[in-house]
C-alpha cells in the first residue's frame, strides 16, 4: 500500500439520470512514479475514471460512487477536490477553459495562493517551474496570446507549482499540432523521470503516448477496467496505435510500442514490401501508380480502389475539372493580424485534400474564406456550379458507403431538386457549368455549393432532439423529408431520434452536423478539425464517409493535426505556415518527406510509400494473389 499512489477498490460509478454504471467493480492500483495511459472508446468512462481519481466524481458531477478511491491514503469519500489540491493536479483538454487569471506568472501562482504557501516559497517555485517548462520568456504574456502548446504547458505548470504527487491529464494533446504535442509530451515524461510524479494520461491518440507508458489502463464501453504492461495489453486492445496494428499484422512478439522497436522488427517486412514495387523503380513513387511522378497531378489512391469500381480516375477529367478556385486569398483581422497571406488553391472533384500546419497558421481562416461566410480581405474564390443533374454521376456503393446505396441515390436526387430550385432563379441553362462566387450568393444557396463543418460543430445545433434537427435540415435545404435522417443513419447508425444533441458523443455530434450539412449536398465540403475528440472507430467511420463523398465526385477539404487520419483518408496534402502554403502535393510525397507529419507506418517502412497498415496489407496481398 505504501508505494501505491492511486488505488481504487471495488469502485462502481453511476452518473445522475442513468441506470447503467459507467465504471463497474474497478480494482486498480497505480504505483508511485509511474506513467499510466488510460485508453478506451469515446464515452467509455475514461474521463469518469480520471474524475473519480481527483474527487470530481462524485463531489462535483453528482452521481453515486461505491467502493473506495484512495490517493496516497486519502480517501475521496472524506476529501473534496479542493482538499486534494495539494496532492493531485488536474489538466484538462482545453487549457484556456481552466485558466483563472490572465498572465502566465499569476496563473502559475494561483494554486499556491489557494494553499496558503508563504510568499518566498511561491516566488521560488514559480521561477523553477518557468525554467522546467522552458517558458521563462513568456512570464508576463497574456494567456490568450499563447499558442496551444504553450497554453497546455502553462496549464501543466500551474498544477505543478503546488508540488502534487499525482498529475491527471485528460487528453492533453488532442487540440495540439504534432509539434505542440511533442512539447507537451516531453514535459510529461520529464515529470515522470525527474520529479517522480505519478502521471495518469487519458488519450485517444495512443500513438503519441504509448511508448512512454509504464502501464496501460483499458476502459471498455461496458465499464470494465483492465490494466497491465503496454505490450501485453495492446495484444487485444480495441484501441491501438498503427505501429501496434502493424505488429499484430506481422505477428511480431513482443509487440512493438514505438517506431524504433517496430523498425528493428520490420527488416524482413521492408524487404518483402520493396519487392512488391514495380521493377526498375529505385525510388518509391507513391500510391498513385497510374501516373508517373513529376507529371501532372497525381490521381489519388488508386491502389485502394478495388478493380472494377469506376471511381473517376482519368487524369484528363481531373485536371480539367475544378470544383473551386481560390486566387490570392488574403484574410486580415483587426489589430494587424495577417491570417492568410495570398493563397492560390484549386480544389478538384473526387479528391480529399488535407490542410495541415501548426496551431494558428491560418487553416480555419482559409476554410472560412473559401466557404464565403468568413472574412475575405482580398482575392477571389469561385466555385463551379454543377450543371443540373451532376449529382447522379457518382457511383453508389463505393468502399466508403458500402451498404448505404439507398442513401447515395437519395442524395443524388436531392441535389437535382435543390440545384433546379436555385438555378431557376438565376437562369442557368443546366447544360454547361458556370462559376460563381459563393460569397455573393444568399447563405442558403451558398451552402448547397460549399458546405462547411466548423471546428465547434455543435454551434450548428439548437433544437432539443436529433430528429428535430434532421427535419429542420430537410426544410432548410428544401428537400424531401427524411433525407437528413437517412444520411445520419448511413454515417452513424442507431442514434435514437428523441435523444438530445447535447447528450451525443463527440463522434455522434459530428455525424449529426455532417448529415445536416450533407443534406444540401454541396459540391465542396470543408471540415475544420473534425477529428478532435474522436476515437479510432469514429475516425475510421469519418474517413469512410469522406472517401465515399470523394468517390461520388465531391471535393472534400479537411483541416487536421492528425497525421494518421491524413494518411488514411486524403489524396492530397496542403501544408500551411504563417498564412502561406509551404507544401502542396500528393499525400505520399508531402507526408513521407516530413519528420513532423510522417505517420508511424511510414516511419517504419521508410523510404517506402506505405502510409497505413492497410497500404502494407494491400501491397503484400497483391503479391500473394
Amino acid at each position: 500500500m505504501a508505494d501505491s499512489a492511486i488505488s481504487l477498490s471495488q469502485v462502481s460509478v453511476t452518473l445522475p439520470l442513468s441506470t447503467q454504471p459507467v465504471l463497474r467493480d474497478v480494482d486498480l492500483t497505480i504505483a508511485e512514479g509511474e506513467l499510466a495511459l488510460v485508453v478506451g472508446r469515446t464515452g467509455s468512462g475514461k474521463s469518469t475514471l480520471l474524475g473519480a481519481m481527483c474527487g470530481r466524481v462524485p463531489h462535483f458531477t453528482g452521481g453515486t460512487l461505491t467502493g473506495h478511491v484512495r490517493l496516497h491514503g486519502r480517501d475521496t469519500r472524506d476529501h473534496r477536490p479542493r482538499d486534494l489540491a495539494d496532492l493531485v493536479g488536474v489538466v484538462g483538454q482545453d487549457p484556456l477553459a481552466g485558466f483563472v487569471t490572465d498572465t502566465v506568472e499569476e496563473e502559475l501562482a494561483y494554486g499556491m495562493e489557494q494553499l496558503g504557501l508563504p510568499a518566498a516559497t511561491m516566488r521560488k517555485r514559480v521561477e523553477e517551474t518557468l525554467d522546467l517548462l522552458g517558458i521563462a520568456e513568456l512570464r508576463d504574456v497574456a494567456l490568450r496570446e499563447l499558442s496551444g502548446g504553450q497554453q497546455q504547458r502553462v496549464a501543466i505548470g500551474s498544477v505543478l507549482t503546488a508540488h502534487p504527487r499525482v498529475i491527471l491529464l485528460d487528453e492533453p494533446t488532442s487540440a495540439l499540432d504534432p509539434t505542440g504535442a511533442e512539447e507537451v509530451l516531453a514535459t510529461i515524461t520529464r515529470l515522470v523521470h525527474d520529479l517522480a510524479v505519478t502521471v495518469v494520461v487519458a488519450e485517444h491518440r495512443v500513438e503519441r503516448v504509448l511508448h512512454y507508458a509504464d502501464t496501460v489502463v483499458h476502459v471498455s464501453p461496458s465499464g470494465e477496467v483492465r490494466s497491465g504492461l503496454p505490450s501485453q495489453l495492446m495484444v487485444d486492445s480495441d484501441i491501438a496505435s498503427p505501429v501496434v496494428e502493424l505488429g499484430r499484422y506481422a505477428g511480431w512478439s513482443p509487440l512493438p510500442l514505438s517506431v524504433r522497436d517496430a523498425r528493428r522488427a520490420a527488416r524482413g517486412l521492408r524487404a518483402r514490401l520493396t519487392a512488391t514495387l514495380p521493377p526498375g523503380q529505385d525510388r518509391p513513387i507513391g500510391r498513385s501508380t497510374h501516373t508517373p511522378p513529376g507529371q501532372d497531378r497525381p490521381i489519388g489512391r488508386s491502389t485502394h480502389t478495388p478493380p472494377g469500381q469506376d471511381r473517376p480516375l482519368g487524369r484528363s477529367t481531373r485536371t480539367l475539372d475544378v470544383a473551386l478556385t481560390a486566387r490570392d486569398v488574403v484574410v486580415r483581422y483587426p489589430g494587424d493580424v495577417l491570417a492568410v497571406a495570398g493563397i492560390d488553391l484549386d480544389l478538384h472533384p473526387g479528391e480529399v485534400t488535407a490542410v495541415m500546419g501548426r496551431n494558428g497558421c491560418g487553416k480555419s481562416s482559409l476554410l472560412w474564406a473559401l466557404q464565403g461566410s468568413g472574412t475575405l480581405t482580398s482575392g477571389s474564390v469561385r466555385a463551379t456550379r454543377p450543371p443540373t443533374g451532376t449529382g447522379t454521376t457518382g457511383t453508389a456503393g463505393t468502399a466508403g458507403t458500402a451498404g448505404t446505396t439507398s442513401t447515395t441515390s437519395t442524395t443524388s436526387t436531392t441535389s437535382t431538386t435543390s440545384t433546379t430550385s436555385t438555378t431557376g432563379t438565376t437562369g442557368t441553362t443546366g447544360t454547361a457549368s458556370e462559376t460563381v462566387e459563393p460569397r455573393n450568393l444568399p447563405a442558403g444557396e451558398r451552402r448547397s455549393l460549399v458546405g462547411m463543418v466548423p471546428q465547434t460543430a455543435a454551434d450548428l445545433l439548437y433544437l432539443d432532439t436529433v430528429g428535430g434537427e434532421c427535419e429542420q435540415a430537410d426544410r432548410e435545404s428544401g428537400v424531401a423529408g427524411g433525407t437528413c435522417w437517412r444520411l445520419l443513419e448511413a454515417v452513424a447508425p442507431g442514434i435514437p431520434a428523441q435523444q438530445h444533441p447535447r447528450d451525443l458523443s463527440e463522434g455522434q455530434k459530428l455525424a449529426l452536423v455532417l448529415a445536416v450539412q450533407l443534406t444540401a449536398d454541396p459540391t465542396v465540403l470543408l471540415l475544420d478539425e473534425p477529428t478532435r475528440g474522436l476515437d479510432p472507430t469514429a475516425k475510421a467511420a469519418l474517413s469512410r464517409v469522406l472517401r465515399g463523398l470523394a468517390a461520388r465526385g465531391r471535393s472534400v477539404v479537411v483541416s487536421t493535426h492528425d497525421v494518421e487520419f491524413v494518411a488514411e483518408c486524403s489524396d492530397r496534402v496542403v501544408v500551411m505556415a504563417a498564412g502561406e502554403v509551404v507544401a502542396d502535393g500528393p499525400t505520399t510525397e508531402v507526408v513521407v518527406s516530413s519528420p513532423a507529419f510522417a505517420p508511424q507506418v511510414s516511419k517504419v517502412t521508410a523510404p517506402g510509400p506505405w502510409l497505413t497498415v492497410d497500404d502494407v496489407r494491400m501491397a503484400l496481398a497483391g503479391v500473394a494473389s
Partner: protein, 375 residues
C-alpha cells in the same frame, strides 16, 4: 526615492491620492486652480502609468470631461437662469409661470452666466479626470487582489466574471457565423433561439469547466474555522454594518441626536473592520508577490492629502480666493497656498518609483485563428 528600482505603486495608494485631488478640486471653481489641478493629474498619469490597456483609458475620461463642459454650457443657453450685464447673444425667450422659477427657456445670454456655467462644468470635468487618473494608474485587478483576505473569494468571482464577458461576445459571434452555414441569416428577435441556446450552453459548459478547475486547484478550501468562531465573526460583522447604516443616517439627517451621527458611524466602521479581520484570520491563503506598502505609497497618499488639506483650509478661511469672481466679471485671484498645495499633488510624478517596463511582446506565431478557434 527616484533612484529606486521600477515597480508598481500600490493601487490603493493611487486611489488615495486621486481622492485627495478630487476633494481639493471640489472646493474651488477658480478656473486657474482647476486647470492647474488638471495639469497636475495629467502630468502624474503621463509619468507613472503602466503598460496595461486601461492605462490608455485616461484620454477617454478627458473627452468625457470636455463633453460635460459643452453640455453644461448648452444647457445654460437653453434653459439656464441668465444673469449678468454683458450681452453675448440674444435669443427669443419664453417666460415661464412663477412655479417654474429658475428655468428660463432661451432669452438673452450674458457673458457672466456663460462663464459661470463653463467653470462649473470644468470643475466636474476635473473631478472626473481625477477618477480617470486613478483608473489609469492603478490596475483594477491588482486592487481586487489586495482586498482583505475575508473578501478574497468575492474578489476572485469578480475577476472571473469580468474576463467572461469578452468570451460571451466571442461565442455570440461564432455561433452567428455558424448559423450562416445552415443558410440561416435571420437577425433580430427571430434569431434569438438559434443563437442564444448554443451560446448559453457554451457559456454554461465553460463555467462548469472553470468551476471544476478552480475546485481542483483549491479554491474555497479555506474556512476551516470552528463553529463558535464563525458565529462571533458573523455577529460582529452584522452589528458593524447595522451601526454604520444608522451612523450614516445620523450624519446626513441633522434632526437626529448627535450621538446617532459620527460616533455611531465610527463604531460601525470599527466593528466592520474587526469582522473582516476575524474572518480573514482563518483563511489559509496567501498572495503571490503582494504589492508592498512602503515609503512611496505613504508619500503618494500624503501628497493627495496635502493638496486636499490646503484647499479645504483655504475654503474655510478665505473662500473668495477659491471662487471665480462673476459679478463683476474679473480675472480670478491666484492664492499662493492653493497653488502650492496642488503642486505638492504633482510630486508623485517624480518621487515614486517608475512603473515596470512593458513586457517584450512575443511575436505572434503566424496568426490567431478567428474567434473561438484555438486551433
Amino acid at each position: 526615492m527616484s533612484t529606486t528600482l521600477p515597480r508598481a505603486v500600490h493601487p490603493a495608494a493611487w486611489w488615495g491620492w486621486a481622492v485627495g485631488m478630487a476633494v481639493a478640486v471640489s472646493t474651488t471653481n477658480n478656473p486657474i486652480l482647476l486647470l492647474l489641478a488638471l495639469a497636475v493629474v495629467a502630468l502624474v498619469v503621463a509619468n507613472r502609468r503602466g503598460s496595461s490597456p486601461w492605462a490608455r483609458a485616461f484620454r477617454l475620461y478627458l473627452w468625457l470631461g470636455l463633453f460635460i463642459i459643452v453640455v453644461r454650457v448648452v444647457l445654460h443657453v437653453l434653459v439656464g437662469l441668465k444673469f449678468g450685464t454683458i450681452v453675448v447673444l440674444t435669443l427669443p425667450g419664453v417666460t415661464l409661470p412663477s412655479w417654474a422659477a429658475g428655468i428660463e427657456l432661451g432669452g438673452t445670454v450674458y457673458l457672466e452666466g456663460l462663464v459661470g456655467a463653463a467653470v462649473l462644468g470644468l470643475r466636474l470635468a476635473v473631478i472626473i479626470a481625477c477618477i480617470g487618473a486613478a483608473n489609469a494608474l492603478a490596475n483594477p485587478k491588482r486592487l481586487l487582489r489586495s482586498l482583505p483576505s475575508a473578501l478574497h473569494e468575492i474578489g476572485s468571482a469578480v475577476v472571473v466574471s469580468v474576463s467572461v464577458a469578452p468570451q460571451l461576445a466571442e461565442s455570440v459571434q461564432r455561433v452567428r457565423r455558424a448559423r450562416q452555414l445552415r443558410g440561416d441569416t435571420s437577425r433580430g428577435i427571430r434569431s434569438v433561439p438559434s443563437v442564444a441556446l448554443p451560446v448559453l450552453e457554451d457559456t454554461l459548459e465553460r463555467s462548469l469547466l472553470l468551476a471544476a478547475a478552480m475546485d481542483s486547484r483549491g479554491y474555497g478550501r479555506a474556512g476551516a474555522a470552528p463553529r463558535p468562531h464563525r458565529f462571533v465573526t458573523g455577529t460582529v460583522t452584522l452589528a458593524g454594518l447595522l451601526a454604520s447604516a444608522v451612523g450614516i443616517y445620523g450624519v446626513l439627517d441633522t434632526t437626529t441626536p448627535a450621538l446617532m451621527g459620527t460616533p455611531t458611524l465610527l463604531i460601525g466602521l470599527l466593528l466592520s473592520g474587526l469582522g473582516l479581520w476575524l474572518g480573514g484570520r482563518h483563511v489559509e491563503r496567501s498572495t503571490y508577490r503582494p504589492d508592498p506598502w512602503r515609503g512611496a505609497e505613504w508619500l503618494t497618499v500624503g501628497c493627495g492629502a496635502a493638496a486636499a488639506a490646503a484647499l479645504v483650509t483655504l475654503s474655510r478661511t478665505s473662500p473668495d480666493q477659491l471662487a471665480m469672481p462673476l459679478t463683476p466679471l474679473s480675472f480670478p485671484p491666484l492664492p499662493l497656498a492653493a497653488v502650492l498645495g496642488l503642486l505638492v499633488g504633482a510630486l508623485p510624478a517624480y518621487l515614486t518609483p517608475e512603473p515596470p517596463r512593458p513586457a517584450p511582446r512575443v511575436p505572434r506565431r503566424g496568426a490567431r485563428e478567428e474567434v473561438g478557434a484555438s486551433g
